[in-house]
């Protein structure tokens, strides 16, 4: 299982929010590229970059993401407000390895079919959920769609896999809820990238035992609850 550090960008800074809510910044670091390099130097095998401004409709940090993708010597997985085929293409053009699509993928199956056909195994569908409902628009709205039904349905497309974020536990440092992750593992054979609430080596162990492909860690590595270097080594 890969342990992947999260870099969430807002107003050009690397931030960590609680439950994805703007204004709850617990971490704010200006030198985003420096942060990315630090994780790379600590042994990261991939970096997970989310443009929160793009997700929330308050701007774009694409230039900064291009700088990161060009600078690092490890793959970059990128997402946040990706809603058009042009945006997907731009991220691949600047050298990103996987592009995460949320809202549009949840609402428009044909879109997922088209872009995953164009970039087989390059697209990750984000399933951001509270209980079994998938959220959209930067976690600001419910989609009315069921997590497991969506996962089963989209599994037949040539996407790389799913990024599951449990919004209820995201950024709270209270641990993960294994139940929805287990249910997802039973609903799809696609790789599952788990995120949200991962707080301890024990959480990572639980995810590995459930067969998660990778685990995205944010708050816990920025606050020192998880020793990132150690985690990467242990779960590699």
């Amino acid at each position: 299982m890969n342990v992947i550090p999260a870099i969430d960008i807002k107003d050009g800074n690397c931030v960590q929010l609680v439950g994805g809510k703007p204004g709850t910044e617990k971490v704010k670091i200006e030198n985003v590229l420096g942060v990315a390099r630090r994780w790379q130097d600590s042994g990261a095998e991939m970096i997970h970059v989310i443009d929160l401004d793009s997700a929330l409709g308050t701007g774009s940090n694409e230039g900064l993401i291009e700088m990161i993708a060009g600078d690092l010597s490890i793959p970059v997985q990128v997402g946040g407000g990706v809603r058009t085929a042009d945006q997907v293409q731009r991220f691949f053009d600047i050298g990103c390895e996987r592009v995460i699509v949320g809202t549009r993928a949840i609402q428009d199956r044909k879109f997922v079919e088209d872009i995953s056909g164009q970039y087989p195994d390059g697209i990750v569908v984000a399933l951001d959920s509270i209980a079994h409902e998938v959220l959209i628009k930067g976690w600001q709205e419910g989609s009315g769609k069921d997590l497991l039904e969506l996962a089963t349905d989209l599994s037949s497309l040539p996407i790389f896999g799913f990024l599951y974020t449990n919004v209820e536990v995201e950024g709270r440092l209270e641990g993960i809820d294994p139940i929805p992750i287990k249910a997802l593992r039973e609903s799809t054979e696609k790789p599952l990238i788990a995120s949200g609430g991962i707080t301890s080596m024990g959480d990572l162990e639980t995810l590995r035992a459930m067969g998660a492909h990778s685990a995205v860690v944010g708050m816990a590595i920025y606050t020192g609850r998880i020793d990132f270097k150690k985690a990467v080594r242990e779960f590699r």
């Binding site: 010597s73 793959p75 050298g95 590699r236």
Partner: protein, 199 residues
Amino acid sequence: MEVAVADYGVGNLFSISKGLEAAGAKTRIVPDMVALLDADCIVLPGVGAFGAAMGALRPVLPKLRARISSGVPTLGICLGMQLLFDRSEESSGAGLSVLSGEVRRLKIGRIPQMGWNNVEWVEDELFDCVPETSQFYFANSYVCHPAEDIGIATTDYGERFASAVRDDAIVGVQFHPEKSGSPGLKLLSNFISIAEEAQ
């Protein structure tokens, strides 16, 4: 030394240029393949498809083949490694044929292979000082089957395949050193040393 990085017109070449520059080389991205013919050192990057890349190289094909065969240090990465061989199951039409053998589709497991995998190498300058347990980043559906004994590393992905080959200064790697962190950068720097010695 100046390294010419072939730009077949698809994908981002910044990380490979940056990796080579970190290894002490100067790089030049060449969109016109004619420029490969007077290069001191050639890198064929791993972006795009076999047919399209060979289409871009076709106008200079016999001369480029002669240049590489005459000993101009060349590194093929992923697709770039595959181009060095005779042919590929991916597209009809010949490869560069500077190494003999063919390229076949992986048969088992999830294809493409996307992710980090082990590489087991024999002693070779290309892997000098690369820590033994290092993994490298792969993104491929096809692998090379060399007809001659030029393999210097193998990797297991449902089948065991040649993940690095070397014939003097002609080097091919199936993984992406430019995306493999510090072991990858070390390998690029070893390639530059091999290239410098070959001059």
